[in-house]
């Protein structure tokens, strides 16, 4: 974003700068703030690479006092609980993003058709939930009891799949960037609307689909609330739900001990706990921390799109 400005900068820019002292002060403030913002990564890394004994004796540190990889060794050898949770997280993220993008884009496309007879009705269907919702209690009972989503992977996927805001972003994109001629000529050629949507609209709409897909992707990966509401079966815990559970009961990591031919008690006694817990946090944070700088541009596009709507 800063680069965009330098393109338009003129020679005047040289005379129109803050003083060197001011510049230094600003840099200092930003360095401090940036460090505060990446402190979580430092803390999580440090604890996960510490030896369990050093934490038991001297507590947590910003930098490990005794370096050790025992937490990661434990995950590789005995961490079936963790690896399973990783699998659930990946499954929910992938499936949720695909379903969410399809549901969002199809509705956005339909609402972008000026001559569609039910357009007004569906616009209300999308709009009303933006201002009014049934609240947590009735949503909970409907999802858990009426729809039977409790303790299924769908409870983690379906409730988060669509947001009216995303639908409107999509609609605006289709309305403003896709020429009417494309749809009309395909209609004249006899293509059905389904065909037009899947083989013409979807492929040329990648920018908006990528933006919405990314929002969904990070949303699913970071979600723990749905698990807290609907998942009691520990086999369906995602990484977030597992970490949430470990914060109050770290022994849960030894749940599958019997399947590995070790007794539960001996595994609890010998396994690294504090460090393994933070290693779970690493599994959550590292993909995010590596991915977001590359996708930042799409996020910014999505976050600033609010002002342009049709």
């Amino acid at each position: 974003m800063a680069a965009a400005k330098s393109e338009t900068s003129s020679g005047l820019d040289r005379y129109n700068r803050i003083s060197t002292g001011m510049n230094l002060l600003f840099h200092l403030i930003f360095i401090l703030l940036a460090l505060v913002c990446i402190v979580p990564i430092v803390v999580i890394l440090s604890i996960s690479f510490s030896s369990e004994d050093s934490i038991r004796e001297t507590g947590y540190h910003l930098l490990p006092t005794m370096f050790s990889v025992e937490a990661y060794g434990f995950i590789l050898k005995q961490g079936t609980v963790i690896l399973r949770a990783f699998g659930v997280s990946v499954l929910v993220t992938v499936l949720g993003t695909v379903i969410g993008v399809l549901l969002t884009a199809s509705m956005g496309y339909v609402l972008a058709q000026p001559n569609y007879k039910l357009k007004n009705f569906l616009t209300w269907v999308v709009f009303i939930p933006m201002v009014f919702n049934g609240g947590l209690v009735s949503s909970y009972y409907i999802n858990a009891n009426l729809l039977g989503l409790k303790d299924t992977v769908w409870a983690l996927i379906l409730p988060l799949a669509v947001s009216s805001f995303n639908v409107i972003i999509c609609k605006t994109f289709f309305r403003t960037t896709i020429p009417d001629g494309i749809v009309e000529s395909a209609e004249i050629d006899g293509a059905s609307q389904l065909r037009i949507f899947f083989s013409i609209i979807m492929p040329i709409s990648l920018p908006v689909l990528a933006t919405i897909g990314l929002f969904l992707c990070f949303g699913y990966w970071n979600d723990w609330f749905q698990s807290m509401l609907y998942i009691n079966d520990q086999d369906l815990y995602s990484l977030q739900a597992l970490l949430n559970n470990l914060m109050s009961n770290v022994d849960a990591l030894a749940r599958n001990a019997s399947t590995m031919g070790i007794s539960y008690a001996s595994l609890v006694a010998t396994m690294p706990k504090e460090t393994a817990r933070m290693a779970v946090a690493i599994l959550i944070v590292v993909p995010v921390a590596f991915a977001y700088p590359f996708f930042q541009r799409y996020f910014i596009a999505g976050l600033t799109v609010g002002s342009i709507k049709g």
């Binding site: 913002c37 947590y60 609240g135 947590l136 389904l194």
Partner: protein
């Protein structure tokens, strides 16, 4: 929702309409199941609702309770503390959530080294992408009584350890700090986009007229940002009955000693739902939904008067 474009086709139902309806069907079903059914489910706030067996038969068969659930809710001291917290925290969040990111966005654009600015911005965007569960684990590493980094530092300075999760007096500051910390990257993105969108010729003219940087900020940048700032403010006010559940539930680790300073409407509803006091939970959820709806519509009404393009409808 704008005026319709002129109709090119006849008013008759077309083959295209059928196909488009088919295409919209899955999402419409989703909206009915996950948005509209719960809206009707809200009547359980007026019922003596007991969950056992089928949901629908329960809703229809359980006896009407009138305003009883609301009486219970508002007779308890919890309700007032909760509403005070919800509105109070949100007011502070709204003000700081504008003041700090706007200031930082103004500053970062003035750095001589633009590449460094970009790096800072990326780093400050990180908290936005972390879940509250992860953040809570990190806070625990700082505030844990016996192992925490904060107490180690206090001990080194010769001070006594503090049992952070039992001391309500610190938590308003912690929560406000965490909220600012997590939202700072997002806020900067929004305001920087506005700043970079300002036509550079304004500044050129100002420099030629001898305006200082401060004068440029005061008379060009801030006035150009006014609309966005006002919009962000109004939209945030519209959501004043909603709070970030993760911040108020995960970060204080659901500590009972902190109840009075960390319970907001979302937390109250969740806790009562989990302890199966459905009557009070549904009444609190009803209050939140209805008040939320009123404030959002009101905010939207104001937005439309200021800038019709930005209004939801």
């Amino acid at each position: 929702m704008k005026k319709e474009e002129p109709k090119r086709r006849s008013a008759r139902w077309h083959k295209q309409d059928t196909e488009l309806t088919l295409l919209a069907l899955p999402t419409t079903v989703w909206y009915i199941l996950f948005c509209f059914l719960p809206m009707f489910g809200i009547i359980i706030a007026f019922k003596n609702f007991k969950i056992s067996g089928g949901f629908l038969s329960n809703v229809f068969n359980s006896p009407w309770a009138g305003w009883k659930n609301f009486e219970f809710l508002f007779k308890s001291n919890d309700a007032w503390v909760t509403i005070r917290n919800t509105l109070g925290y949100n007011l502070v969040f709204i003000l700081l959530g504008i003041l700090i990111p706007v200031t930082l966005a103004l500053m970062i654009g003035r750095l001589h080294n633009r590449r460094a600015g970009k790096v800072y911005q990326t780093m400050m965007f990180l908290p936005y992408f972390l879940s509250w569960v992860v953040v809570s684990a990190v806070i625990w590493a700082f505030l844990s009584f016996d192992k925490g980094i904060a107490n180690q530092m206090l001990n080194q300075m010769g001070a006594e350890s503090v049992n952070w999760y039992m001391e309500p007096k610190y938590w308003p500051y912690f929560l406000i700090f965490m909220n600012v910390w997590k939202g700072i990257g997002y806020g900067m993105v929004v305001y920087l986009a506005t700043i970079t969108g300002i036509d550079s010729t304004y500044y050129e003219a100002a420099v030629i007229d001898g305006a200082s940087i401060w004068q440029q900020t005061k008379y060009i940048t801030l006035p150009m940002m006014k609309l966005v700032i006002v919009m962000m403010f109004i939209l945030a006010v519209g959501r004043i009955f909603y709070t970030d559940f993760g911040l108020f539930y995960q970060v204080p680790r659901d500590s009972n000693s902190l109840f009075n300073v960390t319970t907001t409407l979302d937390v109250l509803v969740y806790k009562q739902l989990k302890t199966a006091t459905v009557g009070m939970a549904s009444a609190a959820a009803f209050v939140q939904s209805v008040m939320g709806c009123i404030t959002i519509l009101f905010a939207n009404w104001i937005v439309r008067r200021i800038d019709p393009e930005s209004a939801m409808m």
